[in-house]
Amino acid sequence: MRAEKLIVVAILFIACSSNAHAYIDPGTGSVITTAVLGFFAAIAYTFRKYMYRLKDLLSSKKSAEPEPEKCVEE
């Protein structure tokens, strides 16, 4: 219960204004939930993004390296 309160306070504390008008009510509790879950999801999302970039970088480097010449018997 205490941890839950702390998370809510933390989210509200770091909050700054953002406009969102919708014809459906997104629900205050639901928006807070997405803020809490989004905080952790953003870390995972950013980590994955950089991992993919690193992988791409490594694989492009590998493919850029000249392949060792094959011995051809004459």
């Binding site: 204004s17 969102a20 919708a22 014809y23 997104p26 509790g29 928006v31 905080f39 999801a41």
Partner: protein
């Protein structure tokens, strides 16, 4: 993209289920599906249809094929413009979809969001009614739902997505709860509080449940009482017009995309618990000897191949053996069965077929989807959504008459009201399957004799052809409406 021939607005018939978003309304006009848009929605449409992601979604058939129409002005409601959508062959609702269908519809919604948000667009809602089916392919139909996304804005459809897609799937996957009656009973889906009560105990620790269900329900309960207290404390002249969620923080792009990506991973891992049902294996365990089954197939084939038909309904389709026969000679087949596992198998099979024109639906015909929602017209009854040219009722009548206690003459009258040809199989009282259904019942079903059946159907149909099966225990009929 624009067609200069405008619709005669006076003849437009408003779709009774399209009213929630005031920026647009769907109409039917001479068999075409049109949508009136206000100025803001029209401007959004013109902008979004120039973006590469939207063009790709259209080209891939993930968003319904749409073009702009310029029409006359309506006398009582002026729309700034009109769109024309490709017609969905048969409208269906989430309370008729098997697990795999609801899961694929959810994944389509998330995919569209993931592809639109990086390009500065989002979806303003997350209703399962915005997804329809062309055969066994899900299609997003609510084009005006696309609106510009500004960074910092939360995903406003999150709550609706949870209620209409995520919770039903989780209830089914984690608890084996059939979500169909829940969705049929509540047009807006399953509330977080109810989902949290059901997904209790160790289920809380399954992927996504703690956050999207338990935390969500807790937050909702906490903040709904707080909102109420705030409203009560307002004085009469206080200004409470500003959106409350303005105060709730900036949601970065990574937060929104991370949440959506996380949900996609969670849903992709959900599996329906495997359990054998009575009829789910029927196509491989049917009560027929091969020779009798071949005769049945030949009879159906003979009448299905007579001419090409527009729409065929296969009622009590099981895993779709005969639906597939019909699909070869018709534009569209609606395959209905009360057994969710059988429909799931058919859906998974059809999903692999390129250009499938077979729509599998879960429905108990003795309690088929009614007119419901606002004014009893928002969601239409099954029988009001289309006109078949042929109905198949194979190995169904004993379930209707015995299991559901529906009088034979009432069922035949219901078939006659559809005004189409019928291939029906009489399963007599001496049949092994009928005997199984009668094990614990008083036999009050003498109406199922061949003589009585023929007398009843002859009152409103012509018996054009018939074929005895299984040594006379069953009989096939081809009926034409009189």
């Amino acid at each position: 993209m624009r067609n200069e021939t405008g619709p005669q607005v006076s003849k437009l018939i408003a779709d009774p289920g399209s009213f929630r978003d005031r920026s647009n309304r769907v109409y039917e006009h001479d068999g075409e599906i049109l949508r009136g848009l206000n100025a803001a929605a029209l401007s959004n449409w013109r902008s979004v249809c120039e973006t590469p992601f939207f063009s790709d979604l259209l080209a891939e058939g993930k968003v319904v094929s749409t073009e702009e129409y310029t029409g006359e002005k309506d006398d009582h409601r002026t729309w700034a413009g009109y769109l024309r959508h490709e017609r969905i062959p048969f409208v269906s609702y989430a309370y008729e979809w098997s697990f795999g269908m609801l899961k694929d519809a959810a994944l389509l919604h998330l995919e569209i969001l993931e592809r639109s948000i990086p390009d500065g667009w989002t979806l303003k809602d997350a209703s399962s009614y915005n997804v329809q089916w062309v055969g066994s392919r899900p299609v997003f139909i609510d084009v005006p739902s696309f609106e510009p996304y500004t960074e910092g804005q939360p995903w406003v459809g999150y709550r609706q997505f949870c209620m209409m897609f995520l919770y039903p799937l989780m209830l089914s996957a984690h608890k084996g709860v059939n979500y169909l009656p829940l969705l049929r009973g509540s047009i807006d889906g399953i509330e977080p509080r109810i989902a949290s009560n059901i997904l209790s105990g160790t289920t809380r620790f399954r992927k996504g449940v703690l956050g999207h269900v338990y935390l969500h329900a807790k937050m909702e309960s906490r903040f709904s009482s707080r909102d109420l207290d705030e409203a009560k404390s307002l004085t009469e002249d206080a200004d409470a017009s500003g959106p409350a969620i303005q105060k709730l923080g900036r949601h970065s792009l990574a937060m929104v995309l991370g949440t959506i990506e996380g949900l996609r991973r969670t849903i992709a891992r959900l599996q329906v618990p495997e359990s054998r049902t009575t009829w789910g294996n029927y196509d491989s365990e049917h009560s027929y000897a091969e020779a009798s089954f071949d005769i049945k197939k030949q009879f159906v084939e003979k009448h299905v191949q007579k001419r090409h038909r527009h729409v065929v309904w296969d009622l009590g389709c099981n895993t779709g053996t005969f639906s597939k026969l019909c699909a070869e000679n018709s534009d569209y087949v609606v395959s209905v069965d009360g057994d969710e596992k059988a429909i799931e198998r058919l859906y998974q099979d059809q999903k692999k077929q390129q250009g499938s024109k077979l729509l599998p639906l879960v429905m108990n015909l003795a309690d088929s989807s009614p007119n419901q929602g606002w004014n009893g017209r928002e969601r239409r009854a099954f029988v009001d959504r289309g006109q078949p040219e042929l109905i198949l009722c194979l190995a169904l009548i004993h379930h209707i008459v015995i299991s559901s206690n529906i009088p034979l003459d009432e069922f035949v009258g219901w078939l006659r009201d559809r005004n189409s040809e019928v291939i029906i199989e009489l399963v007599g009282l001496r049949d092994a399957m009928t005997k199984m259904l009668l094990r614990n019942r008083v036999n009050q079903y003498e109406e199922l004799t061949e003589a009585n059946f023929e007398k009843v159907v002859s009152s409103c149909f012509d018996i054009s052809d018939s074929q005895p099966l299984k040594g006379g225990h069953r009989k096939l009929y081809f009926l034409t409406p009189r």
